[in-house]
Each structure stands twice: as structure tokens, then as C-alpha cells.
């Protein structure tokens, strides 16, 4: 039987990681209205980048930076062609991209080995991504012996990065830049008539969102200690969407609340699995039936989510409304 305190810490850690992931989707969908249905791929890119970086002896901080950069750059380059598409085409393309990325990671090592054998006839033992067997990821924090202290260190790491991400997204969304993103969401054509090159903003939103998703992926990988392509199924993308929509579209606190709620459902399923033993129903199935059904209910009856988007309180808005700033 697992230690209940460790179990609670594990859930708290996941809430922190998925809080960052939900914030990243909130930039893309919540503020800019972009249907990124391939979030899992960007978490996966971050996770694998961090894994390979620490494996090659790089400092964890550099590994995190690399994850953010690689994921962001891939996000921007994927968006270069995908952003001209309508929202439904964008959704289909990014979803297909995520599936293909997973497929490539799963088959990369075998393919490279086969190609080397094919061209040079030499047997090689290249092992970059680990294929279906996945990769063991070394933890960023090492406190030997004391497992509880180790967990506290991990929690402080993720929550300080969550706080930084929250502050970043909050300042971004309240700034004039954030208002342009919202304008694109509300009416792209109108924003273009005001002289805004909307595709550049959309590209930046995907880039920032992917970079943050890469950070979440790296943090998750080093904590779980093991990643495989199967950890990044479309279920993960869907869970992040659920967090943003349930918590409140275009509300950063809402994204965090959504992450806490969705991860609590996951925790309940894990709890049932680890502490209650045999059940006639598989808790994982129950979890996804529940999550899938609840998003339909949320979309139908509370489409704005629990915490609704609020008007921005900045001097500029007040000047526009009253002609002066109070105080």
C-alpha cells in the first residue's frame, strides 16, 4: 500500500504541471481562439528534450530551457503553415501532427538503425528515443535517502515555475498585446482592418503556448521518471482542453482551477486503483467516461466555465470609458 502523503504530493505535483499546461492552452485557445488539438505532442517534445539533455549530463536548468526552446521552435514552425487554415482544418492538422509525432518517436531508433544497415551494412546500436520501450528520465532534484524531503523539493520547483508562468501569462494577457490576441479571437478580419498582421500574433501565441507546454512536459517527465510515446496519447490533449473549458476560457485562475479539478478526478481514479484493490469496473475507464461526459455537459450548460472571463482593469480601459483615470 502506497504512503498516503506521497500519494497526495504526487497529485499536488501533477496539478502544478497541468496548471502550466492549461495556462499554455489558455494563451492559444482562451485568448487567441486557436484550436490546438495537439497539445500532447508539445508536452512530449519538452519531455523528450529534457530527458535527452539530462542523459547527456546537462544541468537541469539548461535542460528546462532547452525543452522550452525546442518545443517553442517546433510550435512556431508547425504554425507557419497551419495558421492559414480555418479553425476546423487547424484542429484536424494539429491532431494529425500529434499522432504522427508520436509515431515517429516510437519508430525513430528502429528506422535509423534500419537505414544505417541499409546504406552501409553495419549493425548500429543507436538509442535516442528508446522507441516503444520509452526512456528512463533522471530526476532534476536529488536528495538521497529522504523521500519526503525530496517530494517537498520537487513541489517547490514545480510551484515556483507555475507561479512564474502564471505571472507571465497574466501580465501578457492584461497588456495591450493581450488585447490584440483577444481582438483576433473575437474578429480576425476586424483586427486586420486595424492594421494588425494577425498571422504573426497567432504564430507567437502558438509559439508561447508550445514553449510553456514544453516546460510542463519536461517537469512531468523528470518527476514521473519514465516516459514513452504512449504517455502522450490524445487523452492528454483532451484533459488539458477540459481544464481550460471547465475552469473558464480566457481566465488564467480558471485554468489553474480546471487543472486542479481534472487532476482530482484522475487522483480519485488512481486512489480507487491503488487503495481499494479489485473492482468489477476498471477505474481508468470510469475516469474517461466521466471526463468525456462532463465536458459535454459543461459545453452545453456552462460554456464559459466556472470562472468567467473578466474585463481587463488597466488605465487604458478606464481612459477609454471615462476619459480620465481615477486616482
Amino acid at each position: 500500500m502506497p504512503d498516503p502523503l506521497i500519494f497526495a504530493m504526487h497529485i499536488a505535483y501533477r496539478i502544478g504541471v497541468y496548471g502550466i499546461a492549461a495556462l499554455s492552452l489558455n494563451i492559444e485557445y482562451g485568448y487567441t481562439g486557436l484550436s490546438n488539438f495537439g497539445k500532447a505532442a508539445f508536452l512530449m517534445i519538452g519531455a523528450y528534450t529534457a530527458a535527452i539533455a539530462v542523459e547527456n549530463g546537462l544541468h537541469p536548468a539548461i535542460a528546462l530551457l532547452l525543452s522550452i526552446m525546442v518545443s517553442g521552435v517546433i510550435g512556431v514552425s508547425a504554425s507557419l503553415f497551419a495558421l492559414k487554415f480555418r479553425e476546423d482544418y487547424l484542429a484536424i492538422t494539429i491532431l494529425a501532427f500529434a499522432e504522427i509525432a508520436r509515431l515517429i518517436l516510437r519508430n525513430f531508433d528502429d528506422s535509423i538503425r534500419a537505414l544505417i544497415r541499409f546504406t552501409t551494412g553495419v549493425e548500429s546500436y543507436i538509442n535516442v528515443f528508446g522507441g516503444v520501450h520509452g526512456k528512463v528520465v533522471r530526476s532534476f532534484v536529488s536528495i538521497p535517502g529522504d523521500y519526503r524531503l525530496y517530494n517537498i523539493a520537487q513541489l517547490s520547483l514545480v510551484y515556483s515555475l507555475l507561479a512564474a508562468s502564471y505571472l507571465f501569462v497574466k501580465l501578457l494577457s492584461d497588456s495591450p498585446y493581450g488585447r490584440i490576441l483577444r481582438a483576433i479571437r473575437e474578429d480576425e478580419l476586424a483586427s486586420q482592418t486595424l492594421g494588425k498582421k494577425t498571422w504573426i500574433y497567432k504564430m507567437q501565441a502558438i509559439g508561447l503556448g508550445s514553449a510553456l507546454a514544453g516546460l510542463a512536459g519536461a517537469l512531468s517527465a523528470q518527476f514521473e521518471g519514465y516516459i514513452s510515446p504512449e504517455s502522450f496519447q490524445p487523452h492528454l490533449t483532451f484533459a488539458i482542453w477540459m481544464m481550460v473549458i471547465l475552469g473558464g476560457v480566457g481566465n488564467n485562475l480558471g485554468s489553474l482551477l480546471g487543472a486542479a479539478l481534472v487532476e482530482s478526478i484522475e487522483a480519485a481514479a488512481l486512489f480507487v486503483k491503488s487503495f481499494l484493490g479489485y473492482l468489477p469496473l476498471d477505474p481508468v475507464n470510469i475516469q474517461w467516461i466521466f471526463v468525456g461526459a462532463s465536458i459535454i455537459i459543461v459545453v452545453a450548460f456552462k460554456p464559459k466555465g466556472i470562472l468567467e472571463e473578466r474585463p481587463i482593469k488597466t488605465p487604458a480601459v478606464e481612459v477609454a470609458r471615462h476619459g480620465y483615470t481615477r486616482g
Binding site: 485557445y29 481562439g33 484550436s35 488539438f37 503553415f81 497551419a82 492559414k84 487554415f85 480555418r86 479553425e87 476546423d88 482544418y89 484542429a91 484536424i92 492538422t93 494529425a96 501532427f97 499522432e99 504522427i100 509515431l103 515517429i104 516510437r106 519508430n107 528502429d110 528506422s111 534500419a114 537505414l115 544497415r117 541499409f118 490524445p234 487523452h235 483532451f238 482542453w241 477540459m242 473549458i245 469496473l281 476498471d282 481508468v284 475507464n285 470510469i286 474517461w288 467516461i289 471526463v291 468525456g292 461526459a293 462532463s294 465536458i295 459535454i296 459545453v299 452545453a300 460554456p303
Partner: protein
């Protein structure tokens, strides 16, 4: 080293293309009538496959009854998801992104119910099919069955779409929903009909996938990306476009398998064909390459 057995490749392409066609027609038609890509469509395919397993393997009922039940079961699931989930959401004015999210959610519900009932491990139907060898290619009764069903479906849909009132209504609604509505066509009853037939055909593709290979909960999800490729290459809502696109992608996929095998690469990578098709078509001609086939009108 690279030996091209063209008759065999051609035959395999017909098999793949036929399954893609059955899987994609409903997706394409419901996409244009209801104006959102329905990701639950994958689960109509999966359910059809598992119903085939349930009836023919678990209950020992003759295969043609299992065949009919795959069609009806998936058709009714599709109809129910339209009536009870997507239509009410559209009536509430949900944006397209919400409809897509809801369709993924509904898909998860259906997939995990299936996984709860039948488990996650692959299940096979043990039926011995007669076999013939024609030159270098081997043909089984199952393949003949699949090709016959596909031809019958294509001819029936062609007659339905061109010769009957309901078919003309479907084409009109697919072309322009508002215009069809203002001309007195009951778009919602047309939609219900299309969702039922489309779901049923997806169920048939699941039936054949399970008969050829095996039943897994991800059966439909694996066919969904090729089905989207067919939909987009053929033009959303175009029946004749989908018909041609299915076989084009079938041929492309089978040639990619030959290439991958020759290079000793994993054949799983054949899925990239569909992805490349989706991206290229959307970049070059988003309305679909074959959309104008069939007298210029979409159907």
C-alpha cells in the same frame, strides 16, 4: 531487391481503399451538413467492429446477421449522438470548436465503454474463408465480400443521390444549408438520415477491419486520420470526391508500404501518407482536389 508485384499492390490498394471509402463517406457528409468534423466518427467504426465480434464469435450467429447488426448498431449510435448531443449543442449556438471538443469527449465515453465491456486486448473472429490463387495474388472470400459491398454501396448511394428526392435534398443541403432550408427542405430530417447512413457505413468498415485483422479499442481512431485525409482530398461533403480519394490514398499507402519494407523501415510509418495528404491539400486547394467531379455539383 525491390521487387514490385504490381497486381498484388493493386489488389491490396482496392482493399485498403474500400475500407477507407466506407469509413470516410459518413464523416464527409456529416461534416458538410452539420459543419464540424465529428471525431466521434472513429467510435462508430470501433463499435461496428466489436458488434461483429460479439455476434459472430461470442454468440455464434451467422456472419451476414453480424454484418447487418454492425450497420444498424453504428447507424443508431451515430443518429443518437446527433439527436441527443450535437443537435442540441448547435441549437444552443455552440461554436465549432466546442462541437469538436464535445465530439472528442463523446468519443472517449463510447471508446471506454467498449473497453470496459470487451477489454483492451485484441480480439479476432475465427472464420475460415475460401481462398483462390489468381496468378500471383491470393484472393479470399472476405475480400470478394468487401469489394461487393463497396460496389453495392457506391451504386446505391449514386442512385440515391441522383435519382431520389431525398438524395437531391442531401446534395442541396450539402451545397448550401441556408439556401436548402429556405427552399423548404427539412435540413434536420435530412441530417438525421445522413448521420444514420454515414454511421452505418462506418460500422461496416469496422466489421471488415475486424474480419481482416482484429478488434482493439483504438480500431476506429487509427482509421480516423486516413478518413480525414479522404474527406479533405475529396472535398468536404463530396461523395464522388471521397470515392476517388479513398482509392488514391489506398494506392499511395500501399506503395509507401512497399517503399518502407524495401528500406526495412517499420510499416507503421505509412500513416504519414495521410498526414502529408491533409497538409498538402489544405495548403494548395482547401476545397478538395476531386470536389468538382460529378457534374460540378457537390453531393
Amino acid at each position: 531487391m525491390l521487387s514490385l508485384d504490381l497486381p498484388q499492390i493493386f489488389f491490396n490498394s482496392i482493399i485498403t481503399g474500400s475500407i477507407f471509402m466506407l469509413a470516410a463517406i459518413g464523416l464527409s457528409l456529416s461534416y458538410s451538413l452539420s459543419r464540424f468534423p465529428n471525431f466521434t466518427h472513429a467510435e462508430y467504426i470501433t463499435l461496428g467492429g466489436y458488434l461483429a465480434y460479439l455476434l459472430s464469435e461470442q454468440l455464434g450467429i451467422p456472419l451476414y446477421i453480424a454484418f447487418a447488426s454492425s450497420f444498424l448498431g453504428s447507424g443508431f449510435l451515430s443518429l443518437a449522438s446527433y439527436i441527443f448531443v450535437f443537435k442540441p449543442l448547435q441549437d444552443r449556438g455552440s461554436p465549432m470548436i466546442y462541437l469538436m471538443v464535445a465530439s472528442i469527449g463523446l468519443g472517449l465515453v463510447v471508446r471506454h465503454i467498449i473497453q470496459q465491456v470487451w477489454g483492451a486486448s485484441p480480439l479476432t473472429i475465427r472464420v475460415v474463408w475460401p481462398r483462390w490463387t489468381l496468378g500471383s495474388i491470393t484472393v479470399t472470400g472476405l475480400y470478394i465480400y468487401l469489394i461487393a459491398v463497396t460496389i453495392a454501396t457506391a451504386i446505391t448511394l449514386h442512385i440515391l443521390l441522383t435519382r431520389t428526392i431525398i438524395g437531391k435534398c442531401i446534395r442541396a443541403s450539402s451545397d448550401n444549408v441556408e439556401l436548402a432550408f429556405s427552399s423548404g427542405i427539412s435540413v434536420s430530417s435530412i441530417s438525421r438520415f445522413v448521420w444514420f447512413i454515414g454511421g452505418g457505413l462506418a460500422g461496416l468498415s469496422g466489421f471488415f477491419m475486424v474480419a481482416i485483422a482484429n478488434a482493439i479499442p483504438l480500431l476506429g481512431w487509427r482509421l480516423l486520420i486516413p478518413a480525414f485525409a479522404v474527406t479533405i482530398l475529396g472535398g468536404v461533403g463530396s461523395f464522388y470526391g471521397a470515392l476517388i480519394a479513398a482509392y488514391v490514398i489506398g494506392v499511395a499507402e500501399n506503395f509507401s508500404v512497399i517503399g518502407l519494407t524495401a528500406l526495412n523501415l517499420p510499416t507503421d510509418l505509412k500513416m504519414m501518407v495521410s498526414f502529408v495528404v491533409i497538409v498538402l491539400v489544405l495548403l494548395v486547394k482547401p476545397e478538395g482536389i476531386f470536389a468538382s467531379i460529378g457534374g460540378g455539383s457537390r453531393a
